[in-house]
């Protein structure tokens, strides 16, 4: 059997084998064992066969051999012969592929390309009746010719143009169209199309709008958007299309389908960007006439946005190269009807159409400096006139808003003071009106009645825009505005929701970025002058002032001034015999803290100065105060120490490691030589012990690398830790106690080396053993110490983590009610956020610690509760009945953990968890309110993230809904309490149930297909909620209204009809 015959036998079912055969022959020819002529001649008996399939296979054989040749093997002459051979039989299968292989060869020339193209055009008149694959191959061949032999194709002129259009006409397959569109685009751009514009345009525009929807599973990997993109490129490819494209696209805006309109608009925008300015100009006014309607009578937001984009694009194109303003410009002619229309609409500026008119002005004004000038020339003067004649403040306000829109456009065109580079060459036309603006806005802001808050806010925003606009106001003019703002903040009473003051603060903060000097020179003296020497005990009037100062002092220069002024206030206070309330020094410290938190202190060059003054200086003062050597007791106050501690913590984190090592050495001695540090001191006063608060914050800010500089840590920490445990168990003052707990946890979690962890684990065990042998009880202080120690160990996933968790759970089953309840509350500590043991402070928080705790605890709590439930119902006294407090304690512990865990972790355990949550809702007494609140929070998140489905899958919809409804009731019987917060939360959950019947669905989403799992309880819910509508509390009623509306609207038996 010849190679040809074997090839034809296998080609259908074994492509690899066929390829191997062809490669063999190719090699034989290349090594001269056979000749190409013989090979071609061997086809003889098949290529004239009646059966097209046989003919196709024979041709494929030749194609396969050609493909297998090395690229340089075939001579020019051979290529020529083969090309002619294939062209003659181009309709037979495989020939197109052969040509495709040939045209990729270096020796394939221009003449041959023309020949192939001719063959395609004359033989494939019936292309559309062939299969998709065949058509695809032909298009691919054409596409390759277009990219490899573009010159030849172009030289064919209208033959190739019409030929291509002819064979593709009627193409419907999206895969083929993707190629066809890209071939056509080349023709449109590079061929001389002047005599065939319409033919070419129609060949693509026929496909507009694209309505293709990818079939399920998307077998082609082509989206409607891909097709739309290619089609859009064709339509916008050449300005010659404009007379056809633009009227046709504008016509499409009459369509009732928003999607068609959207496509038409985006294609129109592409045309505007691509056609030349002269062409755009020719149609600009026609386009405006049509788009005007879309914007002024907006049906859909996105259509009006796209229309505005189109207008802006036209304005930009018409502004290209224009440097001189003149009314004869095409741009000016285009803008005339626009500004005229807008001016008309703005006659009644509080009417509905005024807003879109403002948007139009804004988008054309912001397009270029020249367009901005043209708009300002025609619009500003009439607004002034209208303003003077306006019959009410509502109208005046709407006019101010229009001006604000122009100011915003000015900012886009001319930039702000802080904008770098790109200054416009043309002078800002608003400068002509500068004094008028200043008067008008100043008058509106300061002269209007105090109750006209929204009017004054509008004026304030306009003034702010002008003040930040580059090269507009002089310093003194902005200064005037700053004075107005100061006056509003310092002298005026609050009105309503205090909006004006909030805006005033925001404005000062904004100005501080552009003109910090003005704030330092004008605002600071005015504000600081109102700060009292001391808090005289009346209303804390200094608080709003400090808050304002804090918000405007983020800029570096201003912050330095703030620090100096406030620090000197504080120093004076510390020297006074009668310093008044400690709230004042505390507020001063809080102000500094707030601003430092907003700033990047590590980058601040003055950080060392702040460090010396606050960390070193004030800590010494704290030590002195603790030793009773201070003039007053400000620095003995725990809340002041806490705030100071936070400030120190932030600064310690921001300084160099050398400074941190100094802090480590002084963490207990507080930079004082005569102060007796706490650890191991036998007799300590309460004042002295309180310094542990500051010490703890200092310690928290240190890098781990400072471990060995901390006092009392050599050879290991055991003595120090034991001392701290004793102190935290025995301390009585809450603030000191809290600080000891955190200090201990910090050492164990962050500074204790890996090999020394056993020290802490032993401490944990010894604390557990310290329980009273008879009552099994532990003191609350001891329990807290145990939990903080556990927190430190669990966060770093110490080796005995599982042992620790089970020991903690065992505390819940204590016979002593007090022990059990206190321990239950402790579980929220373990993973709870803490300002000291935090990631910011470099605490060791392993990624998996949450998961570890949760997956260990859930099964244990679940089985323990089951035991208790069974023992409760079991009449036989075989099992000793456990005390009543055990179940609530476990549920409290669970709620504590859940509140500190992301729901993603919770979901896999939902089937175990849900029954426990439902039992939590069954608790009724007042002391279970916190547990129930936490449970409802968890449920809300579960429902929001995962929808009703997950609850339905566990089969708990009915029981959940019943319990939620019970929680919404006001009178539930003796001893039972549903607080307003609980009732509102339960209603929120009900609301979420109706809203999220599909996971992740947004509000107002369509009802899912099929019957909602909520349907069986719909009537029950609606009936119960009717009663809740009469709840005595307004917030609860509001929640009930919303929940009821969601159920009425969202829970339906029949899926809505598809549109």
């Amino acid at each position: 059997m010849s190679a040809l015959q074997s090839f034809m036998l296998v080609v259908d079912h074994d492509k690899e084998e066929a390829k191997r055969i062809a490669e063999g022959i190719a090699q034989d020819v290349e090594t001269k064992k056979a000749t190409l002529i013989d090979t071609v001649q061997s086809l003889g008996e098949y290529i004239n066969d009646e059966d097209p399939i046989l003919r196709g296979k024979a041709i494929s054989y030749l194609t396969a051999i050609i493909k297998a040749f090395s690229p340089k093997y075939l001579s020019r002459q051979q290529i020529q012969v083969l090309t002619t051979f294939f062209c003659d039989r181009i309709e037979d299968g495989g020939a197109v592929d052969g040509l495709q292989a040939l045209q990729g060869l270096d020796r394939f020339n221009k003449f041959l390309a023309t020949q192939v193209a001719q063959a395609i055009f004359s033989n494939f008149q019936d292309l559309q009746s062939r299969s998709q694959t065949q058509r695809f191959h032909v298009y691919q061949l054409l596409n390759d010719l277009m990219s490899n032999h573009r010159g030849a194709m172009r030289d064919m002129g209208e033959i190739s143009l019409l030929g291509i259009v002819d064979i593709m006409t009627g193409e419907k397959d999206p895969r083929n169209l993707m190629i066809v569109f890209s071939i056509l685009k080349v023709v449109m751009v590079e061929w001389d199309i002047s005599s065939h514009v319409e033919t070419l345009f129609d060949s693509v525009y026929n496909y507009f709008p694209i309505t293709f929807r990818p079939p399920p599973n998307d077998p082609y990997g082509i989206t409607a958007q891909d097709l739309k993109g290619r089609l859009q490129e064709c339509i916008s490819s050449t300005r010659h299309f404009a007379p056809h494209a633009i009227p046709a696209l504008l016509d499409k805006l009459d369509s009732t389908s928003p999607n068609v309109k959207k496509d038409a608009l985006s294609t129109l925008i592409a045309c505007i960007h691509s056609y030349d300015p002269d062409t755009v100009s020719k149609y600009s006014i026609t386009i405006w006439e049509v788009l005007k309607f879309e914007i002024l009578n907006a049906q859909e937001e996105f259509l009006s946005e796209n229309s505005l984009e189109a207008l802006q694009a036209i304005t930009q194109r018409l502004s290209e190269g224009v440097t001189e303003v003149s009314q004869e410009l095409p741009l000016a002619k285009f803008l005339q009807p626009i500004t005229k229309e807008c001016n008309e609409q703005l006659q009644e500026p509080q009417n509905k159409k005024a807003k879109p008119a403002q948007s139009i002005l804004s988008c054309v004004a912001a397009a270029s400096p020249v367009s901005f000038i043209l708009v300002v020339q025609t619009v500003v003067a009439p607004i002034f006139t209208l303003y003077q004649e306006a019959d009410g403040i509502v109208k005046q306000r709407a006019l101010l808003e229009t001006l604000n829109v122009l100011f915003e456009a000015a900012t886009t065109v001319f930039g702000q003071w802080t904008t770098r580079g790109g200054e416009a060459a043309i002078e800002n036309p608003l400068l002509e009106f500068k004094d008028q603006f200043s008067d008008l806005f100043g008058q509106a802001l300061m002269g209007a009645a105090k109750e006209e808050v929204s009017f004054r806010v509008t004026a304030l925003k306009g003034f702010l825009r002008l003040s930040t606009l580059r090269n507009f106001f002089q310093e003194n003019e902005i200064g005037l505005f700053v004075q107005y703002l100061d006056e509003i903040l310092l002298k005026e009473e609050s009105v309503g929701r205090n909006d004006l003051k909030k805006e005033a603060i925001a404005a000062l903060a904004e100005i501080s970025k552009h003109k910090p000097r003005l704030i330092v020179d004008i605002t600071f003296p005015a504000f600081v002058a109102t700060l009292p020497e001391e808090d005289e005990g009346s209303d804390a009037l200094y608080l709003p002032t400090l808050e304002t100062l804090a918000q405007i002092s983020v800029e570096r220069d201003i912050f330095e001034t703030l620090f100096r002024r406030l620090f000197s206030k504080l120093s004076i206070l510390l020297q006074k015999e009668q310093p008044g309330s400690v709230a004042y020094p505390r507020a001063i410290l809080a102000t500094l803290l707030y601003v430092m938190q907003q700033r990047n202190m590590e980058q601040d060059q003055s950080v060392d100065l702040y460090f010396d003054r606050v960390v070193v200086g004030l800590c010494r003062d704290v030590a002195a105060a603790a030793a009773g050597k201070a003039k007053n007791r400000i620095l003995n106050d725990p809340t002041v120490l806490d705030t100071l501690g936070r400030l120190c913590n932030l600064l310690v984190r921001s300084v160099s490691i050398q400074k941190q090592e100094k802090v480590a050495e002084n963490v207990y001695s507080l930079f004082s030589e005569d102060f007796v540090p706490i650890p191991f001191t036998q007799t300590t006063s309460a004042d002295q012990e309180r310094t542990i608060i500051v010490s703890t914050y200092l310690l928290a800010g240190l890098s781990k690398d400072c471990s060995d500089k901390i006092p009392h840590t050599n050879p290991d920490m055991s003595a120090l830790l034991l001392d701290l445990v004793h102190r935290s168990v025995s301390s009585t003052e809450p603030a000191t106690h809290q600080a000891y707990l955190r200090h201990l946890a910090l050492l164990v979690n962050k500074f204790l080396s890996k090999q020394d962890v056993t020290i802490a684990e032993k401490l944990f065990d010894s604390l557990l053993q310290s329980r009273d042998t008879e009552s099994q009880s532990l003191s609350p202080a001891t329990i807290r110490t145990i939990f903080w120690l556990s927190k430190a160990l669990i966060l770093r996933i110490a080796p005995t983590t599982t042992h620790i968790i089970t020991s903690l759970l065992a505390l819940l089953s204590s016979q002593d009610q007090q022990t059990s309840a206190t321990a239950a509350q402790g579980f929220s500590i373990i993973l709870g956020e803490d300002d000291i043991l935090s990631a910011t402070n470099g605490a060791t928080i392993r990624l998996l610690c949450r998961q570890r705790l949760f997956t260990t605890v859930i099964p244990l709590i679940s089985s323990r509760i089951r035991e208790v439930n069974i023992a409760g119902t079991d009449d036989s006294t075989a099992a000793p009945k456990s005390p009543d407090h055990i179940k609530p304690s476990h549920l409290t512990a669970l709620a504590g953990i859940l509140s500190t865990i992301p729901t993603a972790l919770v979901m896999p355990e939902l089937p175990t968890l849900l029954p426990l949550l439902l039992q939590s809702l069954d608790l009724q007494t007042a002391d279970s309110v916190a547990v129930r609140t936490a449970t409802l929070d968890t449920l809300a998140v579960i429902i929001r993230d995962n929808g009703v489905v997950v609850i339905d899958q566990c089969g708990h919809v009915q029981s959940l809904v019943t319990r939620l409804l019970k929680t919404t009731a006001t009178n539930v019987g003796p001893g039972a309490v549903n607080s307003p917060r609980l009732r509102a939360d339960a209603l929120k959950c009900l609301n979420l149930l109706a809203k999220y019947q599909v996971p992740g669905a947004a509000a107002n989403a369509r009802v899912p297909p099929g019957i909602s799992p909520l349907l069986p309880v719909k009537n029950q819910v609606l009936r119960s909620l009717r009663a809740v509508l009469d709840d005595p509390k307004r917030d609860v009623r509001k929640a009930a209204v919303d929940a009821r509306a969601a159920w009425l609207r969202g829970v339906d038996d029949a899926p809505e009809e598809e549109e």
């Binding site: 159409k353 929204s454 209303d539 808050e547 809340t639 705030t643 707990l741 509508l1029």
Partner: protein, 194 residues
């Protein structure tokens, strides 16, 4: 959709609509201001936020008032524009009244809510639909001891009496609510209620 009847109505700025002012910072003694973010008060671990809403607060009753009715209906959108009835001044706070239904019977819980509607133009054929929308919203949102009285404000509509008759006629209201197309319009109007 029919031709828009009033394509350019006057709009009240959202900031100027009547709202309920919450008593801000009830506890003056503590920070209500910006420092709360910087400064959580001294940490409390145990005895957690048990008494967050105190007993006194819980017992104080907040009866349903005009502002509450206003909040229920002002966010309904107009069937013609995607703008709320409040912004269009179709409903306004002074035009809402709550009175005892039986002033002579002491302790009667029955109350009547009267809402007067001001159409944006005097010949607005959608006045009935708006009235119906307001009615439905109130019926869904108020307890059963409330009676609704929704009417067109006197002198603001050319066929006000006719519309009022329809709105007051229980049979006709019930029949209208059976009409699927009408309910579709009303449901769309209420989508914006929040």
């Amino acid at each position: 959709m029919a031709e828009i009847q009033n394509s350019n109505p006057t709009i009240i700025n959202a900031a100027d609509l009547p709202t309920r002012l919450r008593p801000t910072a009830t506890r003056k003694s503590e920070y209500g201001g910006i420092f709360t973010s910087a400064l959580p008060l001294a940490p409390v671990d145990f005895e957690s936020a048990l008494s967050s809403d105190s007993e006194d607060d819980n017992l104080m009753e907040e009866p349903i008032d005009e502002q509450e009715i206003y909040d229920l209906i002002s966010s309904i959108s107009d069937p013609e524009h995607p703008i709320s009835l409040g912004e269009l001044a179709v409903v306004s706070l002074p035009d809402i009244a709550i009175k005892p239904t039986l002033p002579d019977v002491l302790d009667s819980p029955l109350q009547t809510v009267t809402v007067l509607i001001t159409p944006t133009i005097t010949h607005c054929s959608l006045a009935t639909v708006i009235g119906l929308g307001v009615r439905v919203r109130l019926e869904q949102s108020l307890p059963s001891r409330f009676r609704m009285d929704v009417r067109i404000k006197e002198g603001t509509h050319s066929t006000g009496d006719e519309v009022n008759k329809q709105l007051a006629d229980k049979e006709r209201v019930a029949a209208a609510l059976e009409n699927g197309a009408l309910m579709g319009v009303i449901a769309k109007m209420m989508e914006t209620c929040h």
